[in-house]
């Protein structure tokens, strides 16, 4: 792990085959492939998946893009479904129905709708019970599969199809839920929040830790959606960089209760830098709406300070 090289890990066989039907430039598949690269060669995996863009586009009968065993059950139960699979593994091993030297890892993917909202109970239950699995949320900040409806992960003021900006509306009225912190409060062995960096080292290392730490682990990955966020598709890496440099999307881990910041911007940029390139925040830049950006900035600052405090303890 210390000798991480992007070139080297990119040479590993792909575990999500090309030919799936996700949009060009979709952040979710970039995130999924990066997580799967952290699996050690020779280790098998069962991949779970909540209903969402990823599921309907990657396993459309009779084609699957998944090289590993894969199970999609429903929207709200990816946590419970994989906890059943993981328990089956335990019992098959115990009863000698799986060879001793066979190692399976359990990773389930859900979008923010399937994770923060409808699948929250199922996720919380699975984490609390301590199943040896990783729940990966690919957080693109709205119900993108059904057409960009707000979720509890949607940033404040975002223009979505159920919180449209209008003559008397400034988009979503509420702040977003801090799910990584909530799962950390379940006292699971490992929680991390990450996104794409130029060398993908942060994501890779966190995914590897999550997969190879015994017990429940949760990984929250910001995966931009060009359709929902309305930025120029090739700009994905610029958008992500702005999210972390404005401290909108802090990168951290909570390893056995110890909070650690894994990236601190040299110069914290104002939140406008992140908001401006995205069509979903266009209304914030109309004259007279400066106070909205100020409120957004104040909340980002408050959360960042809070995180710094947790990490300094």
């Amino acid at each position: 792990m210390e000798n991480y090289s992007l070139k080297e890990v990119m040479n590993k066989p792909e575990r999500l085959a090309p030919g799936h039907r996700m949009c060009a430039g979709c952040g979710a598949t970039i995130g999924v492939r990066a997580v799967l690269r952290a699996l050690h060669e020779g280790d098998r995996a069962v991949i779970g998946n909540a209903t969402g863009c990823l599921e309907v586009s990657s396993y459309m009968y009779p084609y699957t893009a998944w090289e590993d065993s894969y199970i999609h059950n429903a929207f709200e139960n990816a946590g419970a479904t994989l906890s059943g699979v993981e328990t089956a593994y335990k019992v098959l091993k115990k009863r000698g129905r799986l060879p001793e030297d066979e190692t399976f890892k359990f990773i389930t993917f859900g979008g923010d709708g399937g994770t923060y909202d409808i699948g929250f109970q199922s996720l919380s239950g699975a984490m609390e019970r301590g199943h040896d699995m990783v729940y990966v949320c690919y957080d693109n900040g709205a119900y993108m599969n059904t057409g960009i409806q707000r979720s509890s992960a949607t940033p404040m003021y975002a223009d979505t199809t159920t919180t449209p900006a209008g003559k008397v509306s400034n988009g979503k009225p509420q702040y977003r839920k801090d799910l990584a912190a909530i799962i950390a409060d379940h006292n699971v062995p490992y929680v991390a929040q990450t996104t794409f960096t130029r060398d993908f080292k942060d994501l890779h290392q966190k995914a590897e830790k999550a997969i190879y730490t015994e017990g429940s682990a949760f990984l929250n990955i910001m995966t931009p959606c060009p359709r929902g966020w309305r930025y120029d598709t090739p700009d994905i890496m610029k958008i992500v960089q702005l999210a972390i440099d404005t401290c909108y999307w802090p990168m951290f881990e909570v390893d056995h209760g110890v909070w650690r910041l894994t990236y601190e911007p040299k110069k914290k940029l104002p939140i406008e830098e992140f908001l401006r390139p995205q069509g979903r925040f266009k209304h914030l830049f109309k004259p007279g709406n400066e106070h909205l950006i100020e409120a957004f900035q104040a909340e980002v600052d408050r959360r960042w300070e809070d995180l710094l405090y947790k990490c300094a303890r």
Binding site: R44, V46, G48, E55, V56, S57, Y59, M60, Y61, P62, T64, W66, E67, D68, S69, Y70, I71, H72, N73, A74, E76, N77, G79, A80, T81, L82, S83, G84, V85, T87, A88, Y89, K90, V91, L92, K94, R95, R97, L98, P99, E102, F104, Q121, S122, S124, G125, E128, R129
Partner: protein, 393 residues
């Protein structure tokens, strides 16, 4: 050698689970089925079985985890009642459509509201079109025997569908009765080892479960599933025959009790059949030609066989322990009438709603019903075709 014992229906099912020693049981407590996961947890806590119990946070997760475990290659089950089954509804459909041969011990309890913990069949009947095989029991002996037959039916390659083993809440689940249990060895041999063909944890042979399916494929999947449910009819009878050989107890789609020459038949499901049989004995003593057809297998629905069993009687009382809110008939009433009509069987019928939310159903009700059928046929009395019995005045 049979073991003579006394136990409740919940104990009988838990004992069957112990003898089967399945792989994974996720469950969530709900009255009156709670005792089943409690007893299984005790067996586990004392090292009597190797089953892994998952104390899930809801019934939806119970069925979700059951599907996950079953798909992974583990023999899996859960238990529930009432609102628990209703919360599982989406997952019941997925268990069946993903062709998971898992088992659910259903202890029938009414659905809310008003909230009430007692028996009727609104939970099981609400799930009648989810694609599960449904087998109902009259007493603890049948609950035990049916449970032992569940996996051999579910796991048969011709079927590959989930099975719901139903018994009446409190009336059967909590009442202690005499029972004949089997020895462990013949049970083990009868149920056999679980050897799935394809499963998630099959090393080197990955599978994908739960696809998105476009219209070009989805309709064929439904038809295949419906065909498998129909194919289960043959398998249910084969398994019953094998079971008879080791237990001496005979099972079919239904039990015909004094129906061979009966003018009037009561078609009924579950524990109330015991009451009906007692009343039939009383009426037979008075020279009345009456009988009971106790339905055991509701899904797949044995329409041909029911019509065959009813076609020579003058009238049938079809007993539904649930309301369908359509003013036209309960689930059993509607399906039996459709069966009779399609097969041009000229049998008069009245569909009675009885025993909702634990309302007592007594021999007096049965006497009244048979008297009403006779009055209708012999004297031409007009009788509502769909009516309640046992309501307070």
């Amino acid at each position: 050698m049979a073991i003579k014992d006394r136990m409740s229906g919940n104990e009988a099912v838990a004992y069957a689970i112990k003898q089967i020693n399945p792989d994974v049981m996720p469950a969530f407590p709900i009255t009156p089925s709670t005792e089943i996961p409690q007893m299984v947890s005790n067996y586990i806590a004392n090292g009597e079985i190797e089953t892994e119990f998952i104390p899930v946070e809801s019934e939806h997760s119970a069925m979700s985890a059951t599907i996950g475990a079953e798909a992974a290659g583990a023999r899996s089950l859960t238990a529930t009642s009432s609102a628990g089954l209703a919360l599982m509804w989406e997952e019941l459909l997925l268990a069946a459509s993903n062709r998971m041969p898992c088992v659910l011990a259903l202890v029938n309890r009414t659905l809310s509201g008003p909230i009430n913990i007692n028996c009727d069949h609104s939970d099981g009947m609400g799930a009648r079109d989810t694609g599960w095989i449904q087998i109902y029991a009259e007493n603890n002996q049948e609950a035990y025997d049916n449970f032992l037959q569940a996996y051999p039916i579910a796991e048969d390659p011709r079927v590959h569908l989930p099975v719901m083993i139903c018994q009446d809440g409190f009336i059967t689940s909590h009442a202690v009765e005499n029972i004949e249990l089997m020895e462990d060895a013949p049970v083990k041999e009868f149920v056999g080892e679980y050897c799935p063909e394809e499963y998630l944890l099959n090393p080197g042979k990955p599978v994908a479960v739960g696809p998105y399916s476009v219209s070009n494929y989805a309709m064929e999947a439904r038809k295949n599933q419906a065909d498998a449910l129909l194919a289960a009819k043959k398998v249910i009878l084969e398994v019953a025959e094998k079971y008879e050989k080791i237990s001496g107890r005979k099972y079919g789609f239904f039990e015909e009790y004094r129906t061979e020459d009966a003018d009037y038949i009561m078609l009924i499901i579950g524990s109330a059949a015991g009451t009906a049989k007692q009343a039939v004995d009383d009426l037979r003593d008075q020279g009345k030609k009456v009988g009971v057809l106790k339905l055991r297998v509701f899904r797949p629905f044995p329409a041909d066989e029911i019509v065959e069993a009813l076609k020579n009687c003058k009238a049938v009382a079809i007993m539904d322990r649930t309301e369908s809110y359509n003013g036209n008939g309960g689930p059993l009433g509607s399906e039996v009438c459709a069966g009779l009509y399609r097969r041009k069987a000229d049998v008069a019928s009245v569909n009675y709603i009885y025993g909702l939310a634990g309302r007592d159903f007594t021999v007096n009700h049965v006497y009244d019903i048979f008297a009403e059928l006779e009055d209708m046929v012999e004297n031409g009395k007009e009788v509502e075709q769909f009516k309640y019995i046992g309501l307070r005045d």
